[in-house]
């Protein structure tokens, strides 16, 4: 369920709204569900609301992990796991 997409905040507007940009498409959404969102932040957007900020460090770490796994697979070494 829950179609949502990551988008960048390009402007804040009103008391709790923001304008997000997704490849040139702009939409005004509500920031009522997140605190401290600033211009330049990426947020997950669902039904016109930002649900959560995206953590860039974690995203980079996840991608690095994927690359490591892919490289490891090429060398037939094992991949690593992660826990919550």
């Amino acid at each position: 369920m829950c179609l949502a997409f990551p988008a960048r905040i390009v402007a804040l507007s009103g008391e709790s709204d923001a304008v997000i940009d997704l490849d040139g498409v702009h939409k005004t959404i509500s920031l009522a569900l997140v605190d401290d969102a600033a211009v330049g932040d990426y947020v997950i957007v669902h039904v016109g609301f930002a649900l959560h900020k995206l953590d860039e460090e974690e995203a980079l770490a996840t991608l690095a992990l994927f690359r490591e796994i892919a490289a490891g697979a090429a060398e037939t070494a094992g991949g690593s796991g992660g826990s919550a």
Binding site: M1, C2, P6, L33, A70, G79
Partner: protein
């Protein structure tokens, strides 16, 4: 970093696919339920199943709020529009859901009902503000991802002093559904869960520990993109191989153990647990759905319009119930592809594009027909 294309990279997909192929144990089958309909859609759209070994079986779960919405609840919405003359605001997903008397919200529109598609619950509040002489009802559906926006909408309507806005609340809860699946006969056959992406940004990873601890089922929360799903599948396979049952979080860029506390607080302020709620396919489940708190009764369409809750049985031949629990596959339903098609859906699994039957009709029956040998790009 845009958080989309990077997580769809084909070269990384091949790498993950190779790693998974190495990780699976010979002669072992892995039955993994992807709870979330959004994951069902992503798996179909990108053809993720093609990159998995045959011993990994993906079972579509009931995480599709349209699919589990009982016919009677849609009937209520239609009745509000036709008999009470309200402006009925709904997400696009509900428009074509088949209800009683061969009606759907879309068909009711052709009979004069004022049914309007909205993208956000705040659109419905705006309509109420702009049309003070009309009653406006918002058909609120969805799991925990979609509930906080409804809470904000109610609070906004209250702040504006609107007296013509109400919610027809059908919000449901993910952990309750997962319990119901595990408690059902087919539950023991599920080896692990791919946990929903966006529900988890709201509720956090903590609520899933009960499934690992009390049922011994591994959970891996997966992000929305196909690479996320594949990595979560790998984590589950590794857990299963090692005999572990834990909660892995693959979606660390957006899911924390405690989730979005602000959103949770707003939901707790506006909504309360129903004692019980009837889920299409899963039957009555205790404490699995929400209703408006008494202090917000003025915004509760069920109270405002004294709507009776009528249980409507599914079509006799419809197998949505078993399919939603993962016990049967779409092609095992007698009317799949014959009486029940996307053009003429009998059951809700066919109406929603992420329902198991619609997904199978659009993507799966091609694979089942053995299209592999006709494809020049077969790997």
């Amino acid at each position: 970093m845009k958080y989309i294309d990077e997580f769809r990279a084909a070269d990384l997909a091949r790498g993950l696919a190779a790693a998974i192929a190495r990780d699976v144990l010979p002669a072992r089958t892995y039955r993994l339920m992807e709870f979330c309909g959004g994951h069902t859609h992503a798996i179909s759209r990108y053809g993720v199943a093609d990159l998995l070994p045959a011993c990994v079986r993906l079972i579509h779960g009931p995480g599709c709020p349209v699919c589990v919405l009982p016919i009677g609840r849609i009937d209520q919405a239609i009745r509000l529009a036709l008999a009470h003359g309200v402006i009925l605001c709904t997400y696009g997903d509900c428009l074509r859901v088949p209800a009683s008397d061969k009606l759907s919200l879309q068909r009711a529109r052709s009979q004069g009902a004022d049914v309007r598609m909205v993208y956000s619950p705040l659109d419905a509040v705006r309509i109420a503000r702009e049309q003070p002489g009309r009653e406006v009802v918002f058909l609120a559906i969805g799991f925990e991802t979609t509930t906080p926006p409804s809470a904000v909408a109610v609070l906004q309507a209250q702040a504006e002093g609107l007296e013509n806005f109400s919610l027809l609340c059908n919000h449901v809860l993910t952990p309750a559904a997962m319990h119901a699946i595990l408690a059902a006969p087919g539950g023991t056959a599920i080896d692990g869960f791919i946990g929903p992406a966006h529900v988890s940004t709201v509720i956090g990873s903590a609520p899933y520990h009960t499934f690992a601890r009390d049922y011994g089922k591994p959970v891996a929360i997966a992000g929305f993109e196909p690479l996320d799903v594949m990595r979560a599948i790998q984590l589950l396979i590794q857990q299963i191989n090692a005999g572990r049952a834990e909660v892995d979080n693959e979606f660390t860029r957006a899911v924390t153990p405690h989730g979005n506390r602000k959103a949770q607080a707003l939901v707790a302020q506006v909504f309360a647990l129903r004692a019980s709620f009837s889920w299409r396919g899963l039957g009555e489940i205790r404490q699995s759905a929400l209703t408006l708190r008494p202090e917000y009764a003025g915004f509760d369409a069920e109270i405002r319009f004294a709507l009776p809750d009528v249980a409507v049985a599914d079509h006799k031949a419809c197998e949505c119930a078993a399919i939603l629990r993962g016990e049967k596959q779409p092609q095992q339903c007698r009317i799949f592809g014959t009486a029940c098609t996307p053009d003429n859906p009998i059951g809700s699994c066919m109406v929603s594009s992420e329902g198991a039957c619609a997904a199978h009709y659009s993507y799966g029956r091609w694979r089942a027909a053995g299209a592999e040998e006709s494809l020049p790009y077969a790997q």
